[in-house]
Point group: C2
Chain length 140, copies 2
DNA sequence: CTGTATCCTTGAGGATACTG
DNA sequence: CAGTATCCTCAAGGATACAG
């Protein structure tokens, strides 16, 4: 093939590579997920609450040991606004507030378990990430 | 119940509510996931590449229309380092580089499809989030 | 105990220009 | 085309103190 031909072919490929602009079906839902689960703490909180038992504010905080009050209360509020978490307040002294997953919140758990399963299968062989998991004390 | 009794009961509850400190099995893998998929762009990139066909740098950029060069090249590099994305460079002029998912990258897709399915089912009824999805033009 | 109020730091991400 | 180099902004998140 001549140089000119090759050049033309390349140019043609570049200019015609518009790709079928078909919508990636995954992309939009994923963006939605990033909106409601994005950030550092929301997914961990969901995990903590996945056990099914109602947990107190301080109890969640303890399990997420390095979360600040600001982030915890803010994250819980946003999860509540998304309809994923239920807040039950008891008018006692000292105050007691318990958090649980709503039905909607619970409904994500099977899917979450799927990705967690993938993660578990791939964590062991991963060497690039040096983050220490504060829960299981393994360096993953 | 007397006031004193109630008080004692509350105190007892507080001090003994250590909860079984069992490890939440979900938490650690989720932290791992946040490490390799966290941030604004990595999951969207995975989605874009989920089609199976190799895509050029510029092509990915176009589909993610408002991503900057810095973020795109950086995200791709990190995904490559995690073994999820493969980079194939062709020594042509002008340069051509194509990206695909690796086998590891592909292996997350079924699980990702599960959470995306959940998202799709829940997006419609969601009113709190006002983010406009740039792909499907729906306000989700 | 369950948060709020404030102030502050850091780094993710953006804008622009430029190169091979 | 496929990125780098630079500089910059802004907001997520942290630290500390305090309140109901």
């Amino acid at each position: 093939m001549s140089s000119a031909n090759k050049k033309n072919e390349i140019i043609k490929e570049i200019t015609t590579s518009k790709e079928t602009t078909e919508i990636e079906e995954l992309l939009c839902p994923i963006r939605y997920l990033l909106n409601i689960f994005g950030g550092k703490w929301k997914l961990p909180i969901i995990c903590i609450l996945s056990g099914g038992t109602a947990l107190r504010y301080s109890s969640i905080k303890r399990k997420l040991d390095d979360i600040t009050n600001v982030m915890l209360s803010q994250s819980l509020k946003e999860l509540e606004a998304s309809g994923l978490v239920h807040r039950e307040q008891y008018n006692e002294v000292p105050p007691r507030v318990e958090y649980t997953l709503t039905e909607k919140g619970k409904s994500i758990l099977p899917a979450l378990a799927q990705v967690a399963k993938w993660a578990t299968e791939n964590m062991e062989t991963e060497t690039a990430c040096q983050t220490k998991c504060s829960e299981c004390q393994k360096t993953v």
